[in-house]
């Protein structure tokens, strides 16, 4: 469904991604794990066209997308929940959700999705008119995921959704991710919390210094000695 072929991405003269190739099949949860500065966020930003790939190709549902602008990529159904959540701080919860549905015109369906989200995260319904910047970290993460769901993603890209959250909230977030996947949304999950990520994923990639160094089923990676040592802290 989503495929990267030999993607190289640069910040100025510094090369952050070296020939990154990976693929995500429809219906799967695929995770990308790696240490700080490995290039995980850059991979997502290249997919979304924010930091376009200088070399290589990115395909989505049989079409090349690496030459498209970010808004065209969003229109294809590739939706990202970025690192740090990036909630619009001086917009209300409701307005943040509206921004998620920015490119949609099907008013009735938007209303239905909104009800679904308020069902999924009742706290957001309570905080509808509160400014995004005043939410707690966990609430912001829920809002960020909800805002992405408002776009009706075909593939949802999540960048470290567990970052900075309490263990109980992390558990809740991972449950929701699984639930969203079961309901038919493909998920590409970037995580440093490798254990949790591999537990819910079907497939995993390991990234080091801008290169993919390992690719296997999530179950195999969980028991792989190298992965255990480097990323699972065992």
């Amino acid at each position: 469904m989503l495929e990267l072929k030999g993607v190289c991405t640069f910040y100025g003269k510094i090369q952050a991604l070296h020939e990154v190739s990976l693929s995500v099949q429809e219906g799967e949860i695929v995770t990308l794990i790696g240490a700080n500065g490995a290039g995980k966020t850059t991979t997502l930003m290249s997919i979304c066209g924010i930091v376009p790939a200088k070399k290589g190709e990115i395909w989505f549902q049989g079409e090349p997308i690496h030459k498209l602008s970010p808004d065209q990529i969003v229109a294809k159904g590739i939706i990202q929940v970025p690192e740090g959540r990036l909630i619009f701080p001086r917009m209300t919860v409701m307005e943040n959700l509206d921004m998620g549905a920015y490119l949609r015109k099907d008013k009735a369906e938007i209303k239905r999705d909104l009800d679904y989200i308020f069902d999924l995260f009742p706290i957001l319904a309570e905080r509808k008119n509160q400014l995004g910047g005043t939410l707690s970290g966990g609430e912001q993460q829920m809002l960020a995921i909800s805002r992405a769901l408002m776009a009706r993603p075909k593939v949802l890209l999540l960048d470290e959704p567990s970052l900075g959250l309490a263990p109980l909230v992390i558990k809740q977030i991972f449950k929701i991710i699984e639930k969203i996947n079961k309901q038919g949304t493909t998920i590409f999950l970037v995580e440093q919390n490798a254990h949790q990520a591999l537990k819910i994923a079907h497939k995993g990639y390991v990234m080091e210094n801008g290169r993919i160094v390992m690719e296997d089923s999530a179950a195999n990676l969980l028991t792989n000695e190298d992965v255990k040592k480097a990323y699972l802290g065992l």
Binding site: C48, I50, S69, P70, D71, V74, A75, I79, Q80, P82, L86, I87, F88, P89, R90, M91, E95, D98, M99, G100, Y102, L103, R147, A151
Partner: protein
């Protein structure tokens, strides 16, 4: 008391015009963090356009109110087109350049537009017809507030209300706020940021033109240099209120207008600008981000 009120409404009138121009500075800054130095020239072009429209219309024998409305509408459109084009030519190609480059480009654009009007028109002041009629019902209070002052204040207030509703409730208005708050996230929501930037320039330019027509008709003369003076004042107002903040631009404009008016009326007209800039310095000492500005942590 009457003298005080006269100064009060005089200040409100000036302040309204400053606010109309300041909005353009502050909205553009809010979105792309650029001081659009050519903005004052857009205001000046608005005034010149209105002069031409008024000339043609009076040859056609239209009445005063229709001339005023036509002059306002046409010059708003014309200036909006200028603002849009200036952005496309002078700023868009430099979107990813170091911050100083678009600033220099903005100054260049300002000089270019001034000299273009200087050559196309004249360097002298040209008389501008009084397009705002004298209302009979204003006669009892005419020593406090003239008809044109009333029109300026009311029209400005209406423009501000429309702008607020636009920014609060329309889709593109929300996209403008989103882009100002977090450009990367706006892109990830599917906002076409280039279009948002264009709309911002169009709205800011149209408001400046509105201010240009109104004040030219009130004062009765214009030249190619009025954009520079008004631009500096309005920029001061924007900084005073907190650059990037829309209510701040309005408040800054009004505060500046009143300061100038009272200083002129009670002290001396020679010190008008001195008071204005003293006020700026004082406020920036105590509130470096302006009256309504946020002290933002540096964006990462």
């Amino acid at each position: 008391m009457d003298y005080f009120l006269e100064l009060f409404f005089g200040g409100l009138t000036r302040g309204s015009i400053y606010a109309l121009i300041a909005l353009g500075y502050t909205m553009v800054y809010g979105i792309i963090e650029l001081i659009n130095f050519a903005h004052g020239e857009i205001y000046m072009i608005g005034a010149f356009t209105a002069l031409i429209v008024a000339g043609v219309c009076s040859l056609l024998g239209l009445n005063l109110i229709s001339i005023l409305i036509l002059a306002i509408i046409i010059s708003m459109f014309y200036s909006a087109a200028y603002g849009y084009t200036v952005e496309k030519i002078a700023y868009k190609p430099l979107r990813n350049a170091p911050r100083l480059s678009p600033l220099i480009s903005a100054i260049g654009m300002s000089i270019f537009l001034q000299n273009y009007v200087l050559l196309a028109q004249t360097s002298d002041f040209v008389p501008f017809p009084s397009l705002i009629p004298e209302f009979e019902f204003m006669e009892p209070v005419a020593h406090i507030m003239g008809s044109s002052e009333l029109v300026i204040i009311v029209v400005t207030a209406i423009a501000m209300v429309i702008l607020s509703l636009f920014i609060k409730f329309t889709k593109i208005g929300k996209a403008m706020r989103a882009t100002a708050q977090d450009r990367k996230m706006a892109l990830l929501c599917g906002v076409n940021v280039d279009r948002v930037i264009s709309v911002t320039f169009i709205i800011g330019s149209a408001l400046a033109a509105l201010g240009g027509v109104l004040i030219a008709s009130h004062i009765g003369q214009i030249n190619f240099y009025i954009g520079f003076i008004a631009g500096i004042k309005a920029f001061t107002a924007a900084v005073l209120g907190g650059i990037g903040s829309i209510p701040g631009a309005v408040l800054g404009g009004l505060v500046l207008g009143w300061t100038e008016s009272f200083a002129t009326g009670y002290v001396s007209s020679d010190y008008e600008d001195v008071f204005a800039f003293c006020l700026l310095v004082i406020i920036l000492i105590f509130r470096p981000a302006g009256i309504l500005g946020r002290t933002n942590t540096q964006k990462v």
